[in-house]
């Protein structure tokens, strides 16, 4: 029983760091770069994607014995597209301004390879509980990744965080960070940080093994 518990929590935790969708698997890059110009946009996009990921993961997992293998991709896309349409209208209902600033990118969650990838590789093969945990983990990992990029871009590009000024007025804002190219640079920066930490961890593990043997 204890062993099983560890593995189910592992389904959740792996999405946060070891298999982080953006920094490690490099999936779902388009939204990660396009709507991370402010922290609030990044957060909304992350939550919307998590919702679609969770709901489609649940549906695919529940229907996995009914969906014929040959037509599975089409079925998955239909399920995902229905939830994306719902999210699109929900966001419009909550805040029209937010919906305008995200533009077509909410609708483009349909073609986020992360969601179809998880449906195909995980939810269609595992039970409801595991699929839920996996979807939640991946969703949170995606949201955190988007938020880290968004925070860097908003602070450097606007001198603010979630719309509240955090840097003194004398700070010369880096306009390039809110422009498209800033997305590429911020992403590259975080990728370097993640790579560096991973490299150190690997070196430390290797060292520990050598000491042990």
């Amino acid at each position: 029983m204890a062993v099983k518990e560890i593995t189910t929590t592992d389904e959740f935790v792996k999405g946060l760091w070891r298999d982080n969708p953006v920094f490690v698997q490099v999936l779902g890059m388009c939204p990660a770069l396009a709507v991370s110009n402010t922290a609030i946009n990044a957060l909304t996009m992350g939550l919307a994607t998590t919702f679609v990921l969770l709901m489609s993961g649940l549906s695919v997992s529940a229907l996995r014995t009914f969906i014929p293998r040959e037509a599975r991709i089409v079925c998955f896309i239909c399920i995902i597209a229905s939830f994306v349409t719902a999210v699109d209208y929900i966001i419009q209902a909550i805040s029209l301004e937010l919906s305008r600033s995200l533009g077509a990118f909410i609708a483009l969650i349909v073609v986020n390879c992360l969601i179809l990838g998880r449906a195909e590789a995980f939810a269609s093969k595992h039970n409801l509980l595991r699929s839920t945990l996996d979807a939640l983990g991946m969703g949170v990992g995606f949201t955190v990744a988007l938020l880290t990029i968004g925070v860097v871009r908003e602070i450097l590009g606007n001198g603010s965080l979630f719309g509240v000024a955090v840097l003194p007025g004398s700070f010369q804002t880096w306009t390039v960070m809110v422009l498209p190219s800033g997305g590429f640079f911020a992403m590259a920066l975080w990728l370097l940080v993640v790579n560096r930490i991973k490299e150190r961890q690997a070196a430390a593990e290797k060292h520990a093994q050598e000491v042990a043997s």
Binding site: A81, G103, A107, V111, S181, F184
Partner: protein, 193 residues
Amino acid sequence: MTDASHWSIFLNAALINNFVLAYFLGICPFFGVSAKLETAVRMGGAVSFVMLVASVCAYSINLLLDAVNAPYLRIISYILVIASTVQLVEMLIRKLSPATFRAMGIYLPLITTNCAILGLALFQTNRGYNFTQSIVYSLGAGAGFALALVLMAGVREKLDLANVPQLVKGTAAALVVAGVLSMGFMGFAGLGR
């Protein structure tokens, strides 16, 4: 309905608001198949072609959905039509020219999940382009995508010969190159609206 001239729509889609470098659409194939110049050219061609077909299909579907007053079905019907278009194009190319099919066989199915195609269909609907405007827009977007892909592949082929630190190699280096390319494309901003 917009009154922008065809030339400015084309320039806008291809250079000023380049789909890859300004809208971040189709980033996955942009990084995935831009390692070699030859595959980049083929992928650019295939995507441009699918964009043209998808644009025409999306225009007619939008008319139909407007007629039955069901805009909430837009996303579902667009993605299904794009998926079947890609399938049809694949079958058509296999029938007409088996050599071309073999050359780009792997990349064709991948186009379905290319967000540039769905993005194009959604943008032309949102902006209310008419039929000819839609076609010009899709041609411009395709040309812009192919241009970005070919430029990127050219830089990356040269980058292979350079002495890059181990840590930066791979995606991080590609991202920086893309960022610089994107900055270059910002210079086109004064060209049109």
